[in-house]
Subunit: 298 residues, 2 copies
């Protein structure tokens, strides 16, 4: 049974993996009539149009936004202010704006400063979906199926705008959650941003050693998994770490305290405390994996 | 064409994944006539015999070692001294002893102290093979095929003993390398022991937070890979970290300097230096992966 499209015109700024998959998923769900892409380069928009990810490539924000009732910001976080400034003058009075950035407080600050009277119709969002590949070619309609999307509305945010964005994500198959932006940024600093920084740091530190070639020659499967996220996009992760630098700094400080403790245990040869730490970590991770896997089987 | 077995009786102390796979690989290569298992529990030896990994389970070291020309120590590193003390009085004058421990200097010290006159026939070794599963049930004849095995003989080590052990590993399909034990321990501290400690530390630190349930709820694929090695065996990794604590401590100190540097860059908002660090890390990792993958295709 086809669904009546509840979005007339979706504008996607940044038609990469995330923006492109959002467009494809809404199209597949019959939830959008028309998708217009806005981007830095004409070539990438034409590619997205050729792939059927967007219906139209727009050079001109005024033209793109004339009919837009939903705008998704899916370009790198570092471009948020510039893109908001480009689109703000052209937004329809009822248009809802949302984003897909990995950090939320910085995007909220930017949206508040730029959108002014339209800020209550800005719904901050973060889909939790892997991004090993990038670009419109990597976009898929099922990217968000069964994945969480976190919305972090404020007290001033229009409830209908939140419902609109939540509905769009549900149409993509996502499990929609809400939490305060401060909590979001602290949680993701701990479980995502810090691990990325730690993995980049390890590989960088080894690569600078005089015997780096020997070190990498003997690195094996455990190292490969541990450092997989160090093959992530440097510009994107620079932006995330800087945008969320307060929370990342706090998470890093807590982690360094744990390393201090382990270094003291090693120096003291405290076998019992070291084994207890490792065993507690393994038990926590295995319990988490069991929860995920039982969820995946549902 | 069957190979003339060049090992008459192999004694494997600790018939788990590594010891069991060594036995199976040599059997498959026709390089051993008879395999005798020595272990902590009768049940695990009987299981190994039922699986055909060993030909005979021995309770009594004197009996097991009467005909042994090669002894493989493959039990957890923490048991090295105890096992060496059990076997030393019963070794034949021409028997070669080797091991499969992840650290080498501590094993060499133990072997020197316990084996005394037989120490020149001890060949320290370390097969670089993954160990996600454990026990004789996980043993497979192809575990070492195409993987590196590092031998760390000393100046006093008998050259024929080294050749014997190297030949056995080549019969298992391994790529045999030699390096000094000091270098081995420093290399593996950096690329294996430290990453394990870092992964255990991260999961442990998160598990101790008051909002641990929320943190794990939002952990995703990157976290899963980064922490996979935190599901490793706590006792084994406690032994490794303590046995190699000097090198692990030095690797940890270098890593903490890198974290100090990144924390300063974050605090200073130095986008360029952060991006350069991340980009250099990604380039180093991707170059390493390309080398591995071209090697795997050979």
């Amino acid at each position: 049974m086809p669904v009546e499209p509840n979005i007339d015109t979706l504008v996607v700024a940044g038609v990469g993996l995330i923006g492109g998959s959002f467009a494809l998923a809404l199209k597949q769900a019959g939830a959008v009539r028309r998708v217009v892409g806005l981007g830095r380069t004409r070539a990438s928009l034409e590619r997205a149009a050729a792939l059927g990810v967007i219906d139209e490539a727009a050079d001109d924000p005024a033209h793109a936004l004339a009919h837009a009732d939903l705008v998704m910001l899916a370009m790198p976080v570092g471009q948020t202010v510039a893109v908001l400034e480009r689109i703000a003058p052209h937004l329809r009075a009822d248009a809802v704006v949302t984003d897909a950035g990995s950090t939320k407080r910085d995007v909220i600050d930017a949206a508040r400063a730029v959108l002014k009277g339209a800020f209550p119709r800005f719904v901050p969002g973060h889909p939790i979906a892997g991004a090993e590949s990038s670009g419109a070619d990597a976009a898929r309609a099922d990217l968000f199926r069964g994945r969480k999307t976190v919305l972090t509305p404020l007290a001033v945010t229009d409830a209908r705008a939140v419902a609109r964005v939540a509905g769009a994500w549900r149409a993509c198959g996502a499990d929609v959650r809400e939490m305060p932006a401060e909590e979001h940024d602290a949680v993701f600093a701990a479980v995502s941003h810090l691990p990325h920084l730690l993995a980049f740091a390890l590989v960088h530190e080894l690569a600078e050693q005089p015997n780096a070639a020997t070190l990498f020659d003997y690195a094996a499967g455990g190292f490969r998994d541990f450092t997989r996220i160090a093959s992530s996009h440097p510009e994107m992760w620079r932006d995330i770490c800087l945008a969320n630098r307060e929370c990342v700094g706090e998470a890093l400080a807590r982690y360094r305290s744990e390393l201090d403790r382990l270094q003291r245990l090693l120096a003291a040869g405290d076998a019992e405390a070291i084994e207890r730490t490792f065993a507690e970590a393994r038990a926590a991770r295995n319990a988490w994996l069991a929860r995920i896997e039982s969820g995946e089987r549902k």
